[in-house]
Symmetry: C2
Subunit: 331 residues, 2 copies
């Protein structure tokens, strides 16, 4: 059975809280096994408390971690006892260790993805992607959403391929529709870089639907949106904020109008936009499944991330990505 | 009294509907006078029907217009009878004609702003700006929001100055806070272009607060957000869409939960995000106040645009912009 390695140190929440989330994922799904990395004694107690099947939980003891204030390259410089270093060691040495989930230092996670897990052949840079909830109740895969703020057209094309593979692995959707984020639907709209990428994507084997606009990230009109990490990061932060704001404003107006008993319904709507609780980002183009949970992750976040990581690992995302990029090189 | 020239042809709605909006602005405000450009007979009937004070309404007869399918430069090529050409002619010849409102061809409006109204000295390109509603009930001025999708750092700096002047003229706010849209608050976050702009803005006389993130366009944390037109366009389209979507989802959840009588309150919340009804974009850095209403503008849109245009004209936005850019050159 494939194992999900979970880094429990270096996030805002204490490790026992985050461990609860990982164990909840194990308890709820017979196909999930985890390797918990953190203080052994604390984690043993957490496993006991959660009454988790111990056949599917391993613990790796770690006392050190790379904090958010440290340079990402600390991972490569003699910090072999840091929790994240132990996570990557496990990924390198254990063929069954297929995925990593961390809520710690993002830069260090990225450095490890490149230098420890390794990039898929012919991929130039990992792309940070995420799945956003859409109007119709589905998901839209957004790549890149912050790892690559400055891109050439070749990168945008790669993000489209990586996002497409991600969508297929996460949502079991063959040949998903792919859009290129721009300022209008017409072919010529956009920047020099997006227009160059458009020309390449139009001739690609992807199910490319052309340019899409800001709202299409949530409209459900398209399965995958490719964009640079600058625009993607803004899309992500803005949509979460505006969604929550609009629900809060509605609740206030309802209450001001004297309508009672609306809290539960409004909270339910608000939770649609609580992206933190819904999972995390994934680094695409890497030889293992590498998931980044928000630094403010709670148990629910980690549970979602572990489940997503397991889905992607069980659907062989890295291998499928490698096949796609091998073909790309051959063209 | 300053006059607002209103182009009533070339939009989706018929001129008599748009004229109602302009006349409503005149009826509701003794300081507003308009020049309506469209079919004379139709507009005379509209004025009669609205019982508007005829001292503050002029009509210029126009039968031709530049459609959305035409090249923007059509304005410069022998289409002197087109409504937009007549509007710009009036701006050029009548010192009291201080502003123009149009829901027609955006490109042609931009061409006219540059070649007919003229750019303020030392401004390199007009910036399309708009004011978005924020969490606290205020407004945030966003520049650029679509006219300049590819920018150098110098343009971002100009947008910051132009946005600051716009904010002061629209909201009577001296020394408004200005943020630079980026992917994180730290000084070094962003692209090469945003980091270069950051360094210049930090040393500028503007009330520059540093980098801001996607959600800050609506958080109320800052009065002005400067960004390139690619990001700005996405922000605008996404925030309107997500706001409306979140309210609609809340309404559905409320109804599914059996809570009745929520329609009016939800519609009120939804209207917060109906940007089309709240006014339009303004081309900053031009010698006159040039406002672009959405092509799908209705009477309410035009009414809001005329009122905004009057506010900006009465607060001497073009002259104040000229003073700022004269000083910039001197530095």
């Amino acid at each position: 059975m494939k194992k999900i390695v979970v880094d429990l140190l270096g996030a805002d929440s204490p490790q026992e809280i985050l461990a609860q989330g990982a164990l909840q994922a194990v308890n709820g799904n017979k196909d999930i096994a985890v390797v918990l990395v953190g203080d052994k004694h604390t984690l043993e107690n957490a496993v006991k408390a959660a009454k988790t099947d111990t056949d599917r939980v391993e613990i790796v003891d770690a006392q050190d971690y790379i904090s958010n204030n440290e340079a990402p390259t600390a991972l490569l410089r003699g910090r072999d006892g840091a929790s994240l270093a132990l996570c990557y060691k496990r990924l390198q040495e254990d063929p069954d260790a297929a995925a990593l989930v961390s809520a710690g230092n993002t830069g260090a996670l990225l450095v490890g993805a490149i230098y420890k897990a390794g990039l898929v052949k012919n991929v130039h840079r990992p792309s940070l992607a995420t799945a956003l909830p859409t109007a119709g109740g589905g998901l839209c895969c957004l790549a890149d959403c912050g790892a690559n703020v400055e891109t050439k057209s070749q990168s945008l094309v790669e993000f489209a391929y990586l996002g497409s593979a991600f969508c297929t692995a996460l949502l079991h959707k063959d040949n998903p529709t792919v859009g290129l984020l721009s300022v209008g639907k017409e072919d010529k709209k956009g920047t020099t870089v997006t227009r160059e990428a458009f020309a390449v994507l139009k001739e690609s084997p992807l199910n490319f639907v052309g340019n899409v606009e800001g709202y299409d990230v949530m409209s459900g009109n398209v399965d995958v949106v490719a964009c640079d990490g600058f625009a993607g990061n803004i899309v992500l932060k803005l949509s979460e904020y505006v969604g929550k704001l609009a629900v809060s404003q509605t609740e206030k107006i309802l209450k001001d109008a004297g309508i009672v008993g609306v809290e539960d319904a409004c909270h339910k709507a608000w939770r649609n936009y609580d992206f933190n609780s819904q999972g995390g980002g994934i680094l695409l183009g890497v030889n293992k499944v590498i998931m980044k949970a928000h630094g403010a992750a709670n148990a629910e976040t980690i549970c979602c991330c572990v489940k997503q990581a397991a889905t992607l690992a069980n659907n062989d995302l890295p291998q499928k990505t490698a096949e796609i990029f091998a073909d790309l090189k051959a063209e």
